[in-house]
């Protein structure tokens, strides 16, 4: 019996969430008195998982899996679960992982609980705390099946160093890969910029910006902070910004360390989608904007005056503090 964790990588490098899920798996293994095995695909730095409590890495190195494929990845993970007799499978909350998790759940007849925010309440029965109603509530969910699948929310548990001796085993591609004949044709991805899913800081703007031509300062602020840019639903509906930037209940969830909302009044659906962020800052000229009730810090003022000043101040700050 062991705990199996799927650690995601991109172009050979582990994603930030890989160390978070490894740390989570390590905590679950400690509670259950067992060890952590990780499965990674085409990763160049498998030893680094030992820093986060992983004692064995199953490494699938195969050019056929160079691009993510939910069916093929799920087949390999399923095989690894069976070969290691894993009773708990730990996943992240990335878009790719949310694609493969239900396939894994069906193949293993395993109950799947996504959006988990802390270590299990207990491992027998196996109960976890997860967000429901788009962050407006939490459920304590008991997984009743023999094998349990846990999807850990981004930036919820954190990465915790726990140095462990790690061995690496190269394994072959799973034989049963032909179950999903869906193929990737082209990946269109912004490179060198933080994404909403894994950014520490997200700078988001709403209709208060008055038009798409005014987004220059939002992008500049994001650049200074190394942040991802996001927007409210009306802004994406109006076509001012791409859909991929829409955050909120029907858009993407945000769980960053710092969320800066500029010219967003704070509709209940928007607040739900960003509530998992740790520190929220609001810049709005309307002191009655509902977002001020949900924020940690705020400035009441015109975005067109405040944001340029903030950019200058942060440039000075960065120059002084590195």
């Amino acid at each position: 019996m062991s705990v199996l964790v799927y650690t995601e990588s991109e172009k050979g490098k582990f994603k930030k969430n890989a160390f978070e899920v490894a740390s989570y798996a390590s905590e679950v293994a400690k509670m259950m008195g067992t060890t952590v095995t990780a499965i990674a695909f085409n990763s160049n730095e498998n030893e680094s998982l030992g820093e986060y409590g992983v004692s064995k890495v199953l490494h699938v190195k195969d050019d056929a899996l160079a691009t993510f494929n939910a069916g093929a990845y799920a087949a390999s993970i399923t095989e690894a679960v069976k070969n290691t007799d894993a009773k708990v499978v730990i996943l992240s909350s990335s878009t790719d992982t949310k694609y493969l998790a239900p396939l894994l759940s069906a193949k293993l007849s395993a109950g799947y609980a996504p959006n988990v925010v802390q270590a299990p309440d207990s491992t027998s029965p196996f109960t976890i705390k997860r967000t429901v109603f788009s962050n407006k509530g939490f459920a304590h969910t008991q997984i009743d099946t023999d094998i349990k699948i846990v999807g850990v929310s981004n930036n919820a548990f954190g990465a915790h160093e726990n140095k462990t001796d790690v061995t690496i085993e190269e394994i072959g591609i799973a034989s049963d890969v032909a179950t999903n004949n869906t193929k990737s044709i082209e990946v269109d991805k912004v490179v060198g910029k933080a994404t909403i899913a894994d950014a520490d800081i997200v700078v988001s703007a709403g209709r208060g910006m008055k038009g798409p031509e005014n987004w220059g300062m939002i992008e500049e602020l994001a650049d200074v902070l190394g942040a991802a840019t996001a927007c409210s639903k009306p802004v994406s509906d109006l076509g001012w910004r791409p859909h991929g930037e829409h955050v909120g209940q029907t858009g993407k969830p945000v769980a960053s360390n710092l969320y800066i909302a500029i010219g967003i009044s704070g509709a209940i659906q928007h607040l739900a989608g960003v509530s998992a962020s740790k520190t929220k800052v609001v810049i709005n000229n309307d002191p009655e904007a509902p977002f001020f009730k949900a924020a940690d810090y705020g400035i009441v003022g015109d975005a067109f005056e405040v944001v340029p000043k903030l950019i200058e101040k942060l440039k000075d700050f960065k120059a002084q503090n590195g």
Binding site: F138, A139, Q142, N181, T250, Y297, F317
Partner: protein, 246 residues
């Protein structure tokens, strides 16, 4: 082409969420129920296939009689027939099993469900359904074109999008982007009248594995008062020294 759209009956996005019975149940008191938004984008795309490519569109919902007004709304939008699986939806795994039975019996070429429901956020029903019925699967789908048996689709990925090719039979986890917000339809009077006469079949559930149980709920802790900064200097100081986020 025969399409099944899986519809979940969920609280309206503006709903205040409360729990009852010692925090073991969602309090439906005063809550307005609607078609799950992610499902509605899929239903609207299905209407496009009906109008442009002559597809037949059925909808299916797992639930008791209380879900029928939401199903009638989907019929008023233009679905041809509805199937209600007569059992309370308890967890994503069992809901997917119930829907899989409908899919197997109905010979559907395309099944569309929402990427996730906005109530329990399981995000698993389309994927489990695809696996149980041996159909291809595309999640977080933001564009879907079908020509004969071949499928061209785009899915959202973190920080971008990916073009995919696939083939029918296919299950899609849909969301905004399948159609635009402005394409969503409000049922007109004629649609509502016609919906009353459309076939709504009630089928009994099959035995299903219940994989998870929500034992208890709680609400987020109330937020402390916002700290208003008088200047950007003060704000940056607070973020650096107090919140320690920059």
């Amino acid at each position: 082409m025969k399409i099944l759209v899986c519809i979940s009956n969920v609280p309206d996005t503006t709903s205040k969420i409360n729990f009852t019975d010692g925090d073991t149940k969602f309090d439906t008191n005063g809550v307005q129920f609607v078609i799950n938004p992610n499902d509605e984008f899929g239903l609207t795309r299905a209407m496009w296939f009906k109008e442009k490519q002559g597809a037949t569109v059925h909808i299916a919902t797992v639930g008791g009689t209380t879900v029928e007004p939401t199903m009638r709304k989907a019929l008023a939008i233009g679905a041809d027939e509805a199937i209600r699986i007569n059992t309370e939806p308890t967890d994503g795994f069992s809901v997917a099993q119930q829907l899989a039975e409908v899919v197997k019996n109905g010979n559907y070429d395309l099944v569309i469900g929402g990427r996730e429901s906005i109530d329990y956020n399981g995000g698993m029903v389309p994927g489990i359904l695809a696996s149980l019925t041996n159909m291809n699967f595309i999640n977080s789908c933001i564009n879907l074109e079908i020509d004969g048996n071949s499928v061209n689709a785009v899915r959202e990925i973190d920080g971008g999008k990916e073009k995919l090719s696939s083939s029918l039979p296919l299950v899609v986890g849909g969301q905004k982007g399948l159609v635009e917000e402005s394409d969503l339809r409000i049922p007109n009077m004629r649609g509502i009248m016609m919906a009353r006469k459309k076939v709504l079949t009630v089928v009994e559930p099959v035995d299903a594995l219940k994989a998870t149980e929500d034992k208890k709920f709680d609400k987020p802790a109330p937020k402390s008062q916002v700290k208003l900064a008088d200047s950007v200097d003060q704000l940056v100081d607070l973020l650096h020294n107090e919140a320690k986020v920059i």
